[in-house]
């Protein structure tokens, strides 16, 4: 292990554990453990949501997808960023105003149905697992590149998976939402700083975005493929104009038109159904704060993804010319093109910042994976600890018992994700997929966008939504999405396969339609009118804002002393 690797790992550990100790929860209540007391301000919450959302898929995966597929890879970034527009327009403020602990709890109470709550828990757990595995994979890849050694007889990859997952599981189990919020906020700022450093350094060295795209588009796009026991560059097929070569700067290297739209719809609708992101909205003090938080998030992730796309382009342009000067690149590349596209950013960091640059980018990648893992584990804890244990298994549970069940479920979910990440070694996937990490995350978005988003949106905006309708939507959306993306693995490349691989374009409309049809044939909860006043009224917001203003005034009065007016 190099000294850089030691310093990097120590820095990550100090940051994560330091923030956790400083922000450890003072109380042992479920509102504190799962919702950080519902007092997370706009700036902190927006940073934390970014930390939660910007996973290894965003940091390593988007740059990797652009590196491999050029403009087509950027659709991942567009889809990820687009997701917060529906969240802002349709979900954030009403969801927060209604309160509760999780998406499953929201649906269960709004539709007055335990069955809806339990089915939602099932879908939420599927989404969490699909999202957790690629994050753990990201941790393993980064460790492999940074340290290159395993411990206790394990491979470097397995060691990275186990250590990164274990550290964050312990942090979440002990710190709850309060510790996780501050960890995610600090981690986002570090992640953003690392990407900004890379962008500034690369640009200062003479990288010109437009010229690079122009230059890369002069020749057909080719990527390494492992065939007949050897690596060789293979030209990508143009999905839009099959008789022309695919190029970096034009669409077609990865998707046809249908595939592009299907991917963006899948990622765009999926965000509103991601449990770890939506649960963060319950921590905002008011609905208006939740809405404002989303505006901040839209601005910050827009800048982040813009930079990630630019760095994917920079890696493609710069690495071939750097092989001669940096002999260590030879074993990572084939004719100047990286074998594992997720290495794009770490390699760029090492080219420009030597070992320290590699350490910084590797630390950012680890942090990206860990902050998302934290959110996912907490969402898992909320569903098991609150939605299942407290609501169904032991309704008389004390606060202390419920929190301990949440902690235990955190550790179990982490163990399952790490085990599956080790079983799915990335080398087995890389030749077949442009970016393993981003592709696996697409599955989570597909299930969330096909099953949860339609039901959540209808529950918020359509008074007639019923429990039976919601069940029809949840079951049809998840079954169709899973069946389609699993079928896609066995299909020949083409427009139909692209549609099946990103199935929300088909599954979500069916889930919407079935929810509406079944709801029209059944009776809505009689409490719908009072729910409307809570969800779409602002009395609670005004009350909270008035209380906050009074508290501030009182604090100021005490600070200014007894003579102050």
């Amino acid at each position: 292990m190099t000294s850089t690797a030691i310093v990097t790992l120590a820095a990550v550990l100090v940051i994560v554990l330091g923030v956790s100790v400083i922000t450890r929860p003072r109380h042992s209540s479920t509102v504190d453990f799962y919702l950080a007391g519902q007092r997370v301000g706009v700036a902190t919450n927006s940073w934390a949501i970014c930390g939660d959302y910007l996973s290894a898929a965003s940091f390593l995966g988007v740059a990797a997808a652009v590196y491999v597929s050029g403009l087509d890879g950027a659709w991942y970034a567009v889809g990820f960023a687009a997701g917060f527009v529906p969240v802002l327009l349709l979900v954030a403020a009403p969801l927060r105003r209604y309160g509760e602990f999780s998406l499953a709890d929201f649906l269960g109470r709004r539709l007055r149905s335990d069955s809806v709550r339990l089915h939602s828990v099932g879908v939420v757990q599927l989404v969490i697992l699909c999202y957790l595995i690629p994050q753990s994979v990201g941790g393993g890849i980064t460790w492999d590149l940074l340290v290159g050694h395993g411990i206790l007889g394990l491979s470097p990859y397995s060691t990275g998976v186990l250590l990164s997952t274990a550290v964050i599981a312990v942090v979440v189990a002990s710190g709850g939402m309060r510790g996780t919020t501050w960890n995610q906020a600090v981690q986002f700022l570090l992640l953003f700083g690392a990407l900004l450093w890379l962008a500034v350094t690369v640009s200062a060295d003479g990288f010109r975005y437009g010229d690079a795209v122009e230059n890369l588009s002069q020749e057909p796009l080719a990527n390494p493929e492992f065939t007949d026991g050897d690596w060789e560059l293979t030209e990508e097929t143009n999905s839009i104009h099959p008789d022309e070569p695919a190029t970096f700067g034009e669409p077609g290297a990865r998707y046809g038109w249908l595939g592009q739209v299907a991917l963006v719809v899948t990622l765009g609708l999926g965000t509103a159904g991601l449990p770890h992101v939506m649960n963060r909205y319950f921590t905002a003090p008011t609905g208006r704060a939740a809405r404002t938080t989303t505006v901040w998030v839209l601005g910050m992730i827009g800048i982040f993804y813009g930079l990630a796309v630019m760095m994917g382009t920079a890696a493609r342009e710069i690495i071939p010319g750097a092989v001669e000067e940096h002999p260590w690149l030879e074993e990572l590349t084939v004719d100047g093109v990286l074998r594992v596209p997720e290495h794009a950013l770490p390699v760029l960091g090492r080219i420009y910042g030597d070992e320290a640059g590699l350490g910084l980018i590797a630390a950012a990648a680890l942090i990206a994976a860990m902050s998302t893992v934290a959110g996912l584990l907490l969402a898992s804890a909320a569903t098991w600890g609150h939605d299942v244990y407290e609501r169904h298994i032991n309704p008389r549970a004390t606060q202390r018992q419920a929190v301990w069940v949440g902690r235990a479920s955190t550790l179990v979910a982490a163990g399952i994700a790490a085990g599956l990440a080790i079983a799915l070694r990335p080398d087995a996937f890389t030749p077949a997929m442009p970016s393993l990490v981003a592709t696996m995350v697409t599955w989570a978005f597909a299930i969330a966008g096909s099953a949860l988003t339609p039901v959540v949106v209808l529950a918020i905006w359509w008074r007639r939504t019923t429990a039976a309708g919601a069940l029809a939507g949840l079951i049809s959306g998840s079954v169709i999405a899973i069946a389609m993306f699993l079928t896609a693995s066995f299909m020949e490349p083409g427009a139909l396969r692209e549609l099946f691989a990103a199935p929300t374009l088909v599954a979500a409309p069916i889930a919407f339609a079935l929810t509406i049809l079944v709801s029209l044939r059944t009776t809505p909860p009689k409490e719908a009118d009072s729910d409307w006043v809570i969800m779409h009224g602002t009395a609670a917001d005004r009350h909270a804002e008035r209380m906050a203003a009074l508290t501030l005034r009182e604090r100021r009065r005490r600070k200014d002393g007894p003579n102050a007016r």
Binding site: V31, L71, A74, W75, A77, V78, A81, A82, F84, V85, P86, L88, L89, A93, G99, E100, F101, R109, Y209, G210, D211, V213, E214, G249, E250, P251, W257, Q260, V261, V264, G268, R288, R291, T292, T294, V295, L298, G299, I301, G302, Y305, G306, V309, M310, T313, H386, E390, D529, W532, V533, I534, H536, G537, T538, A539, A540, R542, H543, A544, R546
Partner: protein, 106 residues
């Protein structure tokens, strides 16, 4: 444990169902309108690529084509603008249509 439903009882006025319903309808119109704008913006890319050669062949800012510029930078800016506009309008509608009785209180 269930979170308590907020019930301001310290002299503040609750929203009436009629007020909320009116505000809800206005907010729904705003959300649907902006959502359609959002869909149109995202769907415009493949349509422009199919219909205008200029979209991918010409060069604009920083020697990037309009298409690449849109995917690399432009769409994120448009999303942020949609977000700011919709949030500002929604909050202002809520402020105008709800809680008006609070203001009349001493």
């Amino acid at each position: 444990m269930s979170l308590p439903t907020p019930a301001p009882d310290d002299g503040e006025v609750r929203d009436t169902p009629a007020e909320v319903d009116a505000a809800f309808r206005t907010l729904r119109r705003i959300s649907v309108t902006y959502f359609l704008v959002f869909l149109a913006v995202v769907a415009a890319f493949p349509v422009l690529s199919l219909t205008l050669n200029w979209w991918l062949d010409s060069r604009l800012l920083g020697n990037l084509s309009p298409g690449f510029l849109t995917v690399g930078v432009g769409l994120y800016a448009i999303f942020a603008i949609i977000g700011i506009a919709a949030a500002t309008l929604s909050s202002s509608v809520e402020q105008r249509m709800l809680g008006t009785q609070d203001e009349r209180q001493p």
